[in-house]
């Protein structure tokens, strides 16, 4: 790792930076990528909709 600051594929024993570990883990990304819109868009939106009172007949 002397010649370049870019992470390369060499299997060294040094600590892999957090961001790179995140980016190299598709299933963690999948979890985050599904959770965020589910909570912020779907769940939040659905909660607002179910709170709308039903019109009196």
């Amino acid at each position: 790792m002397a010649d370049s600051a870019e992470p390369t594929g060499t299997p060294t024993q040094e600590r892999v930076p957090f961001m790179q570990r995140l980016l190299d883990n598709p299933f963690l990304l999948l979890f985050i990528g599904v959770t965020i819109p589910t909570v912020l868009y779907l769940v939040w939106g659905i909660m607002e909709l179910v709170q709308i009172p039903v019109a009196p007949r």
Binding site: E6, P11, I32, G33, I36, L42
Partner: protein, 565 residues
């Protein structure tokens, strides 16, 4: 498990090891995609010609039928079949791996074909012209929803095969370190696809039950909310996939490496985190949802995703510029661009896709996604104008462009009519740029979308649109003819080459002189050593200035419709 020797071949252009089952699946999905594009494109032409008041070819019931079928065939069938092909390419081929569960991938393909055909048959029967959005209380025949559900289950299975292949490749150590950038883009697309398809199932299954009478009521607002988690997010699959295709074409035609793996991957990460929230822009005028929800999901979150696109907007041309400068095109700011391989349809299509997507699709998207100025054009033709710039000029053109590489590399056939291929991206781009701009123009003048007859010839109440609106619709019709011509040139050439083209087995078909396999960078991790992008910086500045100006012009319009002066 089969032995490696018979089930793989080595690609002479990229040096990649290609799993033959993956190759056959890529072919099948790509062919299906093109068939649906043909059908859907013809329907698009008929719709555009109907909206041209002087031509007005379809009667009202056929217009809505054609519009429903157009949206379904191009937006779902063409694009998603092609995306499945891209996922298999980006996993099995780029990682030199075997494809996980080819049987399951074939089941996925069968489900998608059956679903697509079923929905089409039902739509063509005539009493399911509910548009591809199928908002209740409009009710289609049960087969319409069932077809969509089968299609979605098939697509989800295909995504599962993609993730499975990632696992296999890692376990069998078919690559070292991090996956290549193109694969990372495909991972982004696949992640968004999971959310998209799951949302689709959540809403379409109860709607199907409603159509057969087992559920008594579907709340229209709840439907819209969940449906758009699918409808909009699926557009973000497209964006991620076509950005990945841009990087792939830059790598395969010029040997361009990313200028920074870190920056490009972070931009994809912004997509994963935020892009899907923008679904809320479809509900900006809906009552019952708070401004907090609308503004959070469309503004704050969406701008972070837009930031991702702007980063790609810099790093993609930056990669091209750097690669070209390394080849010696260093004069001035733009020699690299002037001397780019404009006669190579893969490159030309890619670059046109990049420019049109950014300038037309990107800018209009941010404008429409802003709660306040959205009111100027919500549900007008501006909306289809915007998304033909994104999903046709952006995604479709990029997919067409990479087809010119896929035919020799995966189908191992020569392109039969190279001249036609050279012209095709330009003609299609002119047509699509036209339909985008002119539909946006008509929308700005208030012309509604999904409207059979804005002359109101047989209506009791009339409304007169300004003559300029008629002009826009006529220009839209002419552009549609150009786009259809460009589309036909693509389809004819691809079908002819794949069916009757000369085999290229063994030969290295690369126009560029022989640096050792420059295209191989598509399957590697690593950034360039020296980034030199002065020309790109100028282009990006032009983009930002246009963006800001157009954004403010729309706020100005808004202030003019304000009744209190």
């Amino acid at each position: 498990m089969a032995t490696a020797a018979e089930t793989f071949r080595i690609c002479p252009t990229t040096g990649l090891k290609i799993h033959l089952s993956a190759q056959t699946l890529i072919k099948a999905n790509a062919v299906a995609a093109v068939v649906f594009l043909l059908f859907g494109g013809l329907l698009g032409l008929s719709v555009a010609l109907t909206r041209w008041p002087a031509v007005h070819i379809l009667p009202a019931n056929w217009f809505y039928l054609a519009l429903t079928a157009h949206g379904f065939n191009v937006l779902l069938c063409w694009i998603i079949f092609f995306e499945v092909a891209i996922l298999y390419f980006a996993s099995a081929v780029l990682l030199n791996s075997r494809l996980a569960a080819p049987r399951a991938a074939w089941v996925a393909f069968a489900l998608m074909v059956i679903g697509a055909v079923m929905t089409n048959v039902v739509v063509l029967q005539g009493d399911s012209s509910v548009m591809f959005t199928s908002y209740p209380p409009l009710r289609a025949q049960p087969g319409f929803y069932l077809g969509l559900i089968l299609f979605a289950v098939g697509a989800l299975t295909a995504v599962g095969c993609f993730f499975g292949t990632l696992v296999i490749a890692k376990e069998e150590k078919t690559y070292e370190g991090s996956v290549p950038l193109v694969t990372f883009g495909a991972i982004t697309a696949a992640i968004i696809a999971v959310f998209t398809l799951a949302s689709g199932a959540i809403i379409l299954i109860p709607t199907f039950l409603w159509s057969v009478g087992l559920v008594s009521n579907i709340d229209p607002l709840m439907y819209k909310l969940v449906w758009w988690a699918m409808g909009h997010s699926s557009q973000q699959i497209n964006v991620s996939a076509h950005v990945a295709v841009w990087y792939a074409i830059a790598a395969m035609t010029l040997g361009a490496k990313p200028i920074s793996e870190k920056v490009s991957r972070t931009a994809f990460l912004l997509y994963i985190l935020f892009l899907q929230l923008a679904s809320a822009h479809h509900l900006l005028v809906e009552p019952g949802l708070s401004s907090e929800w609308k503004v959070f999901n469309t503004s704050y979150a969406m701008y972070l995703a837009v930031l991702g696109s702007m980063i790609h907007g810099m790093t993609v041309p930056g990669a091209v510029e750097t690669a070209q400068r390394e080849r010696g095109y260093t004069k001035g700011l733009f020699e690299w661009l002037r001397k780019a391989p404009w006669g190579n349809p893969a490159f030309a299509g890619f670059f046109l896709s990049l420019v049109l997507f950014g300038f037309l699709g990107g800018i209009s998207g941010v404008v429409m996604g802003t709660e306040q100025i959205n009111l100027l054009m919500h549900n007008t033709l501006y909306a289809p104008g915007h998304f033909h710039a994104t999903v046709v000029a952006g995604t479709t053109l990029a997919f067409m462009a990479i087809t010119y590489l896929v035919v020799p590399l995966i189908f191992q056939k020569e392109i039969m009519f190279p001249r036609m291929a050279q012209w095709q991206p330009y003609i299609f781009a002119i047509g699509i740029a036209g339909i985008s701009v002119f539909m946006m123009g008509a929308g700005t003048l208030g012309v509604p979308r999904r409207h059979w007859d804005i002359t109101f010839s047989d209506a009791l109440l009339h409304y007169d649109y300004p003559p300029a609106a008629y002009l826009m619709l006529a220009l839209n019709g002419l552009s549609a003819i150009a786009a259809a011509l460009g589309g036909a040139m693509y389809i004819i050439n691809v079908v002819a080459s794949v069916s009757f083209g000369k085999s290229v087995k063994g030969a290295v078909r690369q126009a560029q002189p022989a640096t050792p396999l420059p295209a191989a960078v598509v399957g590697q991790y690593g950034s360039v050593a020296h980034v030199r992008i002065p020309g790109t910086v100028v282009l990006v500045t032009v983009f930002l200035v246009s963006f800001v100006l157009y954004y403010f012009v729309n706020w100005k319009y808004l202030s003019e419709v304000w009744p209190m002066r």
